[in-house]
C-alpha cells in the first residue's frame, strides 16, 4: 500500500463526510443530496478498488490508469454541468413568471388602494 493510494482513500472519505454533513444540515435539497451521496460512495468504492482498477485498465489496453480515471471524471463532470445548466434554465423561467406575477399583483394592489382612498 503506497502513499498515493492512502491519499486517494482519505480524500474520497473526506468528500463523503462533507456531503453527509451538508445533507444533515439541510444545505442540499433532497434530490441533489442523494445524487452527491451516490457519487461520493462510488468515489470511496473506486478508491478502495484502485489496485484492481489498474489490472482492469491494463486488460482493456490502457497502460496509464490515471488517463482512464480522468476520462471518466471528465465525462461525469460534463454531464453534471449540462444537468445544472438545464436546472438553471428551468429556474430562470420560473423566476421570470414569478417576477411578472408579482408586478401584476403590485399594480392591482395600487389600483385597489386608489379606489379605497376615493370611497
Amino acid at each position: 500500500m503506497n502513499t498515493v493510494y492512502l491519499i486517494v482513500i482519505a480524500s474520497s472519505l473526506f468528500f463523503l463526510i462533507v456531503v453527509i454533513g451538508m445533507t444533515a444540515k439541510n444545505k442540499l435539497t433532497d434530490q441533489y443530496a442523494f445524487m452527491w451521496l451516490t457519487f461520493s460512495i462510488i468515489g470511496v468504492v473506486l478508491a478502495f478498488a484502485l489496485p484492481y482498477l489498474n489490472d482492469f485498465a491494463r486488460a482493456i489496453g490502457i497502460s496509464y490508469l490515471p488517463s482512464l480515471i480522468f476520462l471518466l471524471a471528465f465525462l461525469v463532470v460534463l454531464s453534471l454541468l449540462i444537468y445544472h445548466t438545464h436546472l438553471l434554465s428551468k429556474q430562470e423561467h420560473r423566476i421570470k413568471t414569478l417576477v411578472q406575477d408579482v408586478a401584476f399583483l403590485q399594480r392591482e394592489i395600487q389600483e385597489v388602494r386608489k379606489e379605497d382612498s376615493r370611497s
Partner: protein, 229 residues
C-alpha cells in the same frame, strides 16, 4: 363593435424620454397603453407614479424579452384584441398608430411590422445596424420565406392569436427577428407596412458592435435549430 387595443411600452432607464412618449400616447383615447418598467435603476418608476401613467413595474430587470412578454401577458389577461409594441425612447412615431391598426384590420394578418425601409424614409442607421438588417432580411427569406425589409423593428402590431402565443412563449433576448421566424414557420401571416422613425430622444441604443455579432449569431443558430429540429 370596436376592438380593444393595447400599446405595450417597454422601458428600461428611460427617465428622459418616457414622459414625452406617454403624453403623446394619451392623445389617443381609443387605445389603452401600459408602460412595462423593466426594473429601471433611474427615476423611471417615480416619474411613472408621479404622472399617474398606466404602468407595471417589474421588481427586477428581466431584459427586453421578459419585459415585452409581460405586456403580452397583460394583454391576454385583460382581453385585448390587438397589441402594439412601441419603444419608450421616442423612436417610434405615435402618428403611425392609426395607420398600423387600420392596415392590420384591412389585411387580416397575424403580425404587422412597422418598417423604415419600405419607402424612402428619414432613417439613417449606423453601418453595423444596416448590415445586420440586410443579413436578417436574407435569413428570413431563406428560413421563413418572408420578405421583411425591417426585421429588427420593434414597432409592431399583433392579433389575439399571437398575443396568446407570446404570453406563453417569448424569447429572452433579441426577440424581434426570432419571433418572425417562429410565427412564419408556424403558419402565422407576417407582413409589414411603412412607418416613420425618429432619432432617439434620450438614452443609448442597447446594441453595440460586439452585441450585434452575438445578436446575428444567436438568431441564426436558434432559427436554424428550432425551425428544423
Amino acid at each position: 363593435m370596436t376592438s380593444k387595443i393595447l400599446i405595450i411600452v417597454p422601458a428600461y432607464n428611460e427617465e428622459q424620454a418616457i414622459v414625452g412618449t406617454v403624453q403623446q400616447l394619451e392623445q389617443f383615447h381609443e387605445y389603452d397603453y401600459v408602460v412595462i418598467n423593466d426594473g429601471s435603476t433611474d427615476r423611471t418608476k417615480e416619474i411613472l407614479e408621479q404622472h399617474g401613467f398606466s404602468h407595471v413595474t417589474l421588481p427586477v430587470n428581466l431584459g427586453i424579452g421578459g419585459a415585452v412578454q409581460t405586456g403580452y401577458r397583460y394583454a391576454e389577461r385583460f382581453g385585448y384584441d390587438y397589441a402594439i409594441q412601441l419603444d419608450a425612447d421616442g423612436q417610434h412615431d405615435p402618428e403611425d398608430l392609426h395607420h398600423l391598426v387600420a392596415e392590420m384590420k384591412k389585411r387580416d394578418v397575424d403580425m404587422l411590422i412597422g418598417s423604415r425601409f419600405l419607402e424612402k424614409s428619414n432613417y439613417k442607421g449606423s453601418l453595423t445596424r444596416r448590415t445586420g438588417i440586410l443579413y436578417f432580411n436574407y435569413l428570413l427569406r431563406m428560413i421563413a420565406r418572408v420578405n421583411i425589409t425591417d426585421p429588427t423593428s420593434g414597432y409592431r402590431i399583433v392579433n389575439r392569436r399571437v398575443i396568446e402565443w407570446f404570453a406563453k412563449d417569448y424569447p429572452v433576448d433579441y426577440p424581434e427577428v426570432e419571433v418572425i421566424v417562429k410565427l412564419a414557420r408556424k403558419g402565422f401571416k407576417v407582413e409589414e407596412t411603412k412607418v416613420e422613425m425618429n432619432a432617439r430622444q434620450g438614452g443609448a441604443s442597447s446594441i453595440t458592435a460586439v452585441k450585434s455579432v452575438y445578436y446575428m449569431a444567436k438568431v441564426t443558430f436558434f432559427s436554424l435549430i428550432r425551425s428544423y429540429i
